[in-house]
């Protein structure tokens, strides 16, 4: 289906199912129960899952396939966000032109940076992309303030022209982003099923549709001759040259495509919440997408999406846990042990959640370079081998 083989189609359908039913799947615990804090099915978080999923899918097209490790990808996301907010300020509150502009501007920006950075490879490439991203970040904070509004970040105001819309709503507020007049991003339909509460948000579903498109496109790229060439670049550039292939346009194309993905993510981010700040371009933000991709499994199709979801989910859950929650968990234990456990856990939760992230990252790179996907495959193989052995032993017995 859609030019994919059976396995890929199954994967696509699975992702589509998960994305569409996310409001149910992510809210398994009844509202008000003690486990409700583990629910993730509210619009803001679901949007983040999907947006960072798109960002990571795009990063994976560059890093996973060609092996070029960019440490400046957040710059494209930031540029995308700024472009989208400018569209909201100048043109109107419809998200589609804003997203389109984000993708185009990020693509052009990636073309420029990629053209220069890709002249070098290995760590030099990483440093060049890092340098460009830091430059953009610093400039956004200082000289480019007329465009970026510096530290405050770019926001909508009542004085924006919005030539195709209105500067202010009838009641004097700032208008909100919409898909069509009347279909606003923040529209949320809440469904109560007994004690359960499910939220269906327009913005989330728009993001989910884009995620599916992004994912589908990435599957096609992975299976295409172009994708094969990118993997060949990672494997042996020398042989590429002596096989009559020019690697630079291939890597540049991959760079631009992944930059456009980042721009799309940035545009969606601004569409959900129309503001953009320079901190989105900082190198720690670039590091985060590297982390997501590696954690999920670089070079695999589904890995980056898993990694993005994993990190954003635990970021949300872990940072919410505080001392009283911990005492609640360990309350059944003797006081001394309880306090000790709370003390130790304290390192990993709340504001220190990055510590957990760093440790997890080290463990994954050290023991599981293929990320969660490889972990899953290993477990799968373990079971299969076991069942194969069982099958063998049952086969052998009758013969005896």
């Amino acid at each position: 289906m859609f030019g994919l083989n059976k396995k890929d189609t199954t994967l696509l359908i699975a992702v589509a199912f998960l994305a569409l039913c996310a409001p149910f799947i992510l809210n398994p615990f009844p509202e008000g129960s003690s486990l409700a804090q583990f629910n993730a099915g509210y619009p803001d978080l679901m949007q983040r899952f999907v947006i960072f999923g798109i960002f990571a899918i795009g990063f994976n097209i560059l890093f996973g396939l060609t092996g070029y490790l960019s440490f400046g990808h957040a710059a494209f996301l930031g540029v995308g966000s700024y472009s989208a907010v400018w569209m909201f300020k100048l043109l109107g509150m419809n998200v589609l032109p804003a997203i389109a502009l984000s993708v185009v501007v990020a693509g052009l920006f990636a073309l420029l940076i990629g053209y220069i950075s890709l002249r070098r490879s290995g760590i030099y490439f990483s440093i060049l992309t890092l340098a460009f991203a830091q430059m953009s970040f610093n400039l956004a904070y200082s000289v480019l303030t007329p465009i970026t509004n510096g530290e405050t970040g770019l926001q909508l105001t009542l004085n924006d022209p919005r030539i195709l819309g209105q500067s202010a709503t009838a009641d004097g507020g700032i208008p909100v982003t919409n898909l069509l007049p009347g279909i606003e991003m923040r529209d949320t339909f809440t469904m109560e099923l007994g004690p359960w509460l499910f939220q269906f948000n327009t913005g989330y579903y728009l993001c989910a549709v884009f995620l599916l498109l992004a994912f589908y496109l990435s599957v096609r790229i992975f299976r295409s001759p172009f994708g094969l060439m990118l993997r060949a670049v990672k494997s042996n550039q020398q042989r590429m040259y002596y096989t009559g292939l020019n690697t630079r346009p291939y890597t540049l194309a991959a760079f631009v495509i992944s930059g456009m993905y980042a721009g799309l993510a940035g545009g969606l981010m601004a569409s959900m919440d129309p503001l953009a700040g320079a901190e989105r371009m900082q190198w720690t933000a670039s590091g985060e997408v590297v982390l997501m991709t590696i954690l999920g499994g670089a070079g695999t199709l589904i890995g980056p999406v898993l990694g993005a979801g994993f990190i954003k989910y635990f970021e949300n859950i872990f940072s919410k846990i505080n001392d009283s929650v911990l005492h609640g968990w360990f309350g059944f234990m003797p006081d001394g042990l309880e306090n000790a456990l709370v003390f130790v856990s304290h390192f990993f939760v709340g504001k220190s959640w990055h510590l957990t992230l760093g440790l997890l990252f080290m463990l994954v790179v050290t023991f599981l370079p293929g990320g969660l996907v490889e972990g899953g495959q290993r477990i799968g193989r373990l079971f299969r081998r076991k069942s194969a052995e069982d099958a063998k032993s049952t086969d052998v017995k009758p013969a005896e």
Partner: protein
């Protein structure tokens, strides 16, 4: 002329820090072939050694002085640092005053141990892994170290003063025959520069004149051959890592009075130090030092108002801009050797 001298001086302290961090990075990269993204964290740990020593020295006990009262009329609680009662108030006070230089004594063993543990526990397993993996795992480590420091010391910068003697500034211009008050330079920055020069000199002398240093230099030039000679290079690598960690740590200790230590200072310096290493030429020690000072001074020139008015924002991007230009025109950096990291 005076403005130029002032900017050169202003660039020296940052340049010194860049040079020291880049030196350690290059040592590790040149000998071990490891790209260490956690090196900035070592610099930060050094700075927090200074914070720790200052805090420990200020540990006090409380006594009630009935002869004095506070504004509510209660007897005054007097805090006396333990060092006062051990060494007498005068010596005690100067010990506290000199806590940053004293922290060097504390930082050296701490940093060497940290370096050893890092190398044996983690880096060792990554010698044969791709550079991307090394970058990623040390990046993870850097996050962990940074968060640990944040956990124990909080997120705010902690002011750590230099000894009284070195507080304040002196008029450097008068010494060179300029008018007074033209070139004012803080004492501590000069101390920092001198300190950096001594450390850099010591590292080079160590590499030049000891057998150990000879092996290390040979290892940097041709790792495989040295391995084939039957020299136990593993052990030497561990020591090398400890040394590099100590250099970064010392750079951090002495930097504490210039810039109040905070948990993300390591990351801030790391990015720039990597740029420095690349500009200097991956694997070249003199290159790292040269580029460190050069970029420090360039940065300070770029922040002159005269230049900023012509090229707004240049101070924010000058280092990156230089790095990009150098990487594109002289791919091996200023003093890099052929074939390093070019595959």
């Amino acid at each position: 002329m005076d403005a130029i001298i002032l900017q050169i001086l202003n660039g020296l302290d940052k340049g010194s820090a860049y040079a020291l961090i880049a030196l350690g990075l290059t040592l590790i990269f040149g000998t071990l072939g490891v790209v260490n993204f956690a090196h900035g964290a070592l610099f930060m740990i050094g700075a927090f050694c200074a914070v720790t020593v200052q805090r420990v020295l200020n540990f006090s006990y409380e006594t009630i002085d009935p002869s004095q009262t506070d504004f509510l009329g209660n007897p005054l609680v007097v805090k006396t640092p333990y060092v006062f009662s051990w060494f007498g108030p005068e010596t005690g006070a100067s010990i506290i005053d000199w806590s940053v230089p004293l922290a060097i004594l504390f930082a050296i063993p701490v940093m060497i141990v940290v370096g050893f543990v890092m190398e044996r526990g983690l880096i060792k397993h990554f010698y044969k892994r791709p550079h991307a993996d090394q970058i990623l795992v040390t990046f993870g480590l850097a996050i962990v170290l940074q968060e640990l420091i944040k956990y124990f010391y909080g997120a705010n910068p902690i002011q750590t003063g230099a000894p009284d003697v070195f507080r304040g500034s002196f008029d450097f211009g008068v010494m060179l025959g300029f008018d007074p008050n033209v070139i004012i330079y803080p004492y501590w920055r000069l101390v920092y520069f001198a300190f950096a020069a001594v450390i850099i000199g010591a590292v080079f002398a160590f590499l030049q004149f000891t057998t150990f240093g000879m092996v290390v230099r040979a290892g940097m030039a041709d790792r495989e051959t040295v391995g084939l000679l039957g020299i136990n290079i593993d052990k030497k690598f561990t020591i090398m890592f400890g040394l590099a960690a100590a250099v970064a740590g010392l750079a951090g200790v002495m930097y504490a009075p210039i810039n109040s230590p905070n948990y993300h200072m390591g990351m801030d310096f790391l990015v720039l130090s990597f740029v420095v290493v690349v500009v200097g030429g991956m694997g070249s020690l003199p290159g790292a030092v040269l580029a460190g000072f050069l970029l420090g001074i360039l940065e300070s020139f770029a922040s002159m108002n005269e230049i900023k008015s012509i090229l707004p924002g240049i101070d924010q991007i000058i280092i990156y801009l230089v790095a990009i230009i150098i990487l594109l025109t002289r791919p091996r950096g200023l003093m890099g050797r052929k074939g390093v990291m070019e595959d």
